[in-house]
């Protein structure tokens, strides 16, 4: 297995606006190896691989493949040189037949006409190599989730010239036994001519399968483990390392005694969740930990009314209402914020208008908004979270951390009992992170807070942490048991 390096990535950096997604990305993949790439959310894994596959042009750094420097930013050229990426969310045409999805973009063509028989045969060969003989004439949407995943992987396998196949989270959201089957298939496609890079949050899968593992943290490549050194515990330790966030829990000296139940989830099931139950009371910050596809994101969606469970019930607020839409959730007393600010920030609107948006009706005199009363209310809310910047400034002029606090400020004076907070620190610097988490902690005195965030942030902030793994609550941590390491061990 110890072949010559097929791929060497050195010093890659990529910045999006003010966010340095990758600062120093280095990666060496040898010929014919299965190479794992692991790291927390936002550590830069996807960005680094998007650079390697040509989807992104880096600000700095170089990528050499089989001795030739790649022309970065040129997706087609890089693909022609034999590097192919199967992204996290593969576009997939559910109405098309399996062979069409497998050969998409690589159809055998003669005089402008697709040679269907040859295409079907190639698709069948690729799927056979993956260890699953799926009917190439079946309608893709009718396949099981595992088979669909294999079809997208087969897309990389079917291309004859691919000598480096990059798979971004190929097992995310699959139940354990299905994920295991996908992992087994991966062994089939690694060959002396074909190396595979695997991104996964499931550390034990990676440790069991990969010849080498590279760990990323905060946009940097921390280390590479190879051969015998690839062990689950060592990888987890590397993920945990780093300056811990100071505990915020202790600051609210007298723990508020838990009040009435404001979130009640019973046996909720959906795309990823498989019957999850929990409750959150007034005065509590309850954390949701889980990797992509674990169901933590879906839990957030259910409680904030963005989607509804297929099975089970979700009740929120004083009157135990059904949050069937975001508007109904708000009426029931649920406020929502997310670090995905593209979904929350409105072009052309000022900071103040963002803050008052949910409750702007209450400043009305015969329907007309009294700007004076609105301004007073907005300034009080912004001051409470020490947001820098005027209410009249455009939202875009604020830094990420200030934007996030301004979005949180909208719920301070509003009549909401529940805050649903989804990855609030994405793209927020260290100082801003602590400030934001402290503000959440303070808000919890009179409210119930459900917080999905990074393990270290949860460890610093929460009274309880629900650790989700493959759609179920694998472990509930309380009190001193809440540590970053304990959370990571429970979710990976």
């Amino acid at each position: 297995m110890s072949g010559a390096p097929a791929l060497s990535v050195t010093g890659v950096a990529k910045r999006f606006g003010g966010v340095r997604a990758v600062r120093d990305g280095n990666l060496t993949v040898r010929r014919g190896e299965l190479h794992g790439l692991v790291g927390p959310n936002g550590s830069g894994k996807s960005t680094l691989l998007n650079v390697v596959s040509g989807l992104l042009r880096p600000d700095a750094g170089s990528v050499v493949f089989e001795g030739n420097p790649l022309e970065l930013g040129h997706y087609r050229k890089i693909q022609d040189q034999g590097v192919y990426l199967v992204p996290q969310e593969m576009s997939f045409a559910p109405d098309d037949e399996v062979w069409e999805n497998v050969t998409l973009g690589a159809e055998p063509i003669r005089r402008g006409i697709v040679r269907r028989r040859a295409a079907r045969a190639a698709a069948a060969r690729a799927l056979h190599l993956l260890g699953r003989d799926i009917d190439v004439n079946a309608v893709s949407g009718a396949l099981s989730p595992v088979e669909q995943r294999l079809v997208t992987i087969a897309r990389g396998v079917v291309r004859p010239g691919v000598r480096l196949l990059i798979l971004d989270e190929p097992t995310a959201g699959l139940p354990h036994h299905d994920a295991k089957r996908v992992m087994e298939s991966l062994h089939q496609i690694v060959s002396p001519d074909r190396a595979v890079i695997l991104v996964s949050h499931h550390i034990d899968d990676v440790a069991a399968a990969c010849h080498a593992v590279t760990v990323m943290r905060d946009g940097k490549t921390v280390t590479e483990l190879r051969g015998e050194a690839v062990r689950t515990d060592d990888i987890v330790d590397l993920l945990v390392a780093g300056a811990p966030l100071e505990a915020i829990r202790d600051e609210s000296a007298a723990p508020v005694e838990a009040g009435d139940e404001l979130i009640d989830v019973e046996q909720a099931a959906g795309r990823s969740l498989r019957g999850v139950s929990f409750a959150v009371r007034r005065g509590e910050v309850v954390g949701l930990a889980g990797v992509l596809g674990s169901g933590s994101g879906e839990t957030i969606e259910f409680v904030s009314g963005q989607s509804r469970p297929d099975d089970g019930t979700v009740r929120v607020g004083r009157d135990a209402s059904d949050p069937s839409t975001p508007h109904r959730a708000f009426r029931a007393g649920v406020g929502y914020i997310s670090g995905e600010r593209a979904r929350l920030v409105i072009e052309d609107m000022t900071v103040g208008e963002h803050v008052s948006l949910p409750v702007v009706g209450q400043f009305g005199r015969v329907g007309v908004v009294s700007r004076g009363r609105e301004r007073t209310w907005v300034n009080r809310s912004l001051d409470a979270l020490s947001v820098k910047g005027e209410g009249s400034a455009p939202m875009r002029s604020l830094s990420g951390g200030n934007q996030q606090r301004a979005l949180l400020a909208r719920w301070i004076g509003a009549d909401v009992d529940v805050l649903v907070v989804d990855q609030p620190t994405v793209g927020v610097d260290i100082a801003g992170r602590a400030q934001l988490l402290r503000a959440l902690r303070d808000l919890a005195r009179e409210r119930a807070i459900l917080l999905a965030a990074e393990p270290e942030e949860l460890a610093a902030t929460c009274d309880r942490v629900l650790c989700l793994r493959r759609g179920e609550i694998a472990r509930e941590l309380t009190g001193d048991d809440i540590t970053e390491g304990a959370i990571i061990r429970a979710i990976v």
């Binding site: 975001p326 979904r343 920030v345 409105i346 948006l357």
Partner: protein, 351 residues
């Protein structure tokens, strides 16, 4: 720059030239530093040049109070339709059905006022108009509900609703007695003719109505909670939703506003010229040209009623000027289309 100079941290300027920072400040004062400002200056300049050109070409006829009155009295139908579609554009949707709604309402109101028993008194005619406007609101609500709850693209929904409205207009038209397909203005009851016919200070009552309703919609969009929610919905629908705004309600109301204003436009049209079948087709392009031209030329934060009114004035001036110069109709239509194309491309080039 010696020690006595003010503590400004900029590169020392060469004699007689401004430092880059100062240059920026000057440009900002002229507010031509941003692409938006340059674009707006270009379009407002276009308007000024156009007025100047018409004035030079034929000042004798163009720059007269009589011509102004004539032009202004032609404007209400376009103004009502354009302001209506602005409300829908504001929530990020399209209403292509507004002119068809106006056509349907013009038929309903005309036939009720002239031929239905019980509508022949003055009050009856008012009732006929009210029914017509209500029909407009109802058709608008249909579009709104289909877009909001059907999650269907408004472009296609309102195209379909437009066809249905024109079909219903044909049905109404078939009820006209005596095998006629139109109702001439002379046969209309006086109350209906008065909408356009009454002159106050030389200007038609319908113009005051259109301006009054524009004012109402402007206040609604710029000063109320509804307006704020509409802006948020049009700016970023998911953001509005996640702030707890009932996006569906906001959209439906916008379509109802557009339907009601289209209804009023239909009544004004009948009052001006009697009932003619399918008389509003040409207004579709004009209404959108006005809204897009206005938003691109003077809009600060996208579509707004004052911006649309500027667009209406631009288009009205253009067609009036060309008419004064005795230019054939095809020129007017072609130029209007070109203006829409030009402004839309300008507004898209901002990134």
């Amino acid at each position: 720059m010696t020690g006595g100079a003010p503590a400004v941290e900029s590169e020392p300027a060469e004699e007689g030239r401004l430092a880059p920072e100062q240059q920026n400040r000057v440009l900002a004062m002229l507010s031509l530093s941003s692409p938006t400002a340059r674009r707006q200056a270009l379009l407002v300049g276009l308007f000024v040049v156009m007025v100047a050109a018409f004035s030079i070409a034929d000042a004798e006829h163009f720059l007269t109070w009589t011509n102004f009155k004539n032009a202004a009295n032609q404007v209400p139908v376009l103004m009502l339709l354009a302001v209506g579609v602005t409300a829908v554009l504001r929530v990020g949707e399209f209403d292509l059905a507004a002119p068809a709604i106006a056509a349907l309402v013009s038929g309903v109101a005309a036939i009720l006022a002239t031929q239905a028993s019980g509508f022949d008194t003055g009050g009856g005619v008012l009732l006929a108009m009210a029914v017509g406007i209500a029909v407009g609101g109802l058709v608008g609500a249909t579009s709104g509900v289909s877009v909001a709850y059907g999650k269907a693209p408004s472009f296609v929904v309102t195209l379909a609703v437009s066809s249905v409205a024109l079909g219903l207009e044909l049905l109404v038209q078939s009820k006209i007695t005596g095998g006629l397909t139109q109702i001439s203005a002379i046969t209309l009851p006086e109350t209906l003719r008065d909408v356009a016919g009454t002159k106050i200070a030389g200007l038609s009552l319908s113009l005051y109505i259109a301006l009054g309703l524009s004012l109402v919609v402007w206040l609604l969009l710029s000063r109320t909670a509804y307006g704020r929610h509409a802006h948020a919905t049009g700016g970023n629908e998911s953001a509005a939703q996640l702030a707890g705004v009932s996006v569906n309600r906001i959209k439906i109301i916008a379509f109802v506003i557009s339907g009601l204003l289209a209804g009023v436009a239909g009544i004004v049209l009948v009052s001006q010229q009697g009932y003619l079948p399918n008389a509003t087709a040409s207004y579709l392009l004009q209404a959108y040209a006005a809204a897009f031209f206005g938003a691109t030329a003077v809009g600060k934060r996208g579509f707004s009623v004052p911006a649309t009114l500027f667009g209406v004035i631009f288009l009205a001036t253009l067609s009036n000027g060309l008419a004064v110069l005795n230019q054939p109709l095809w020129i007017s239509s072609t130029i209007q289309g070109a203006v829409l194309l030009f402004t839309v491309m300008l507004s898209r080039s901002r990134t």
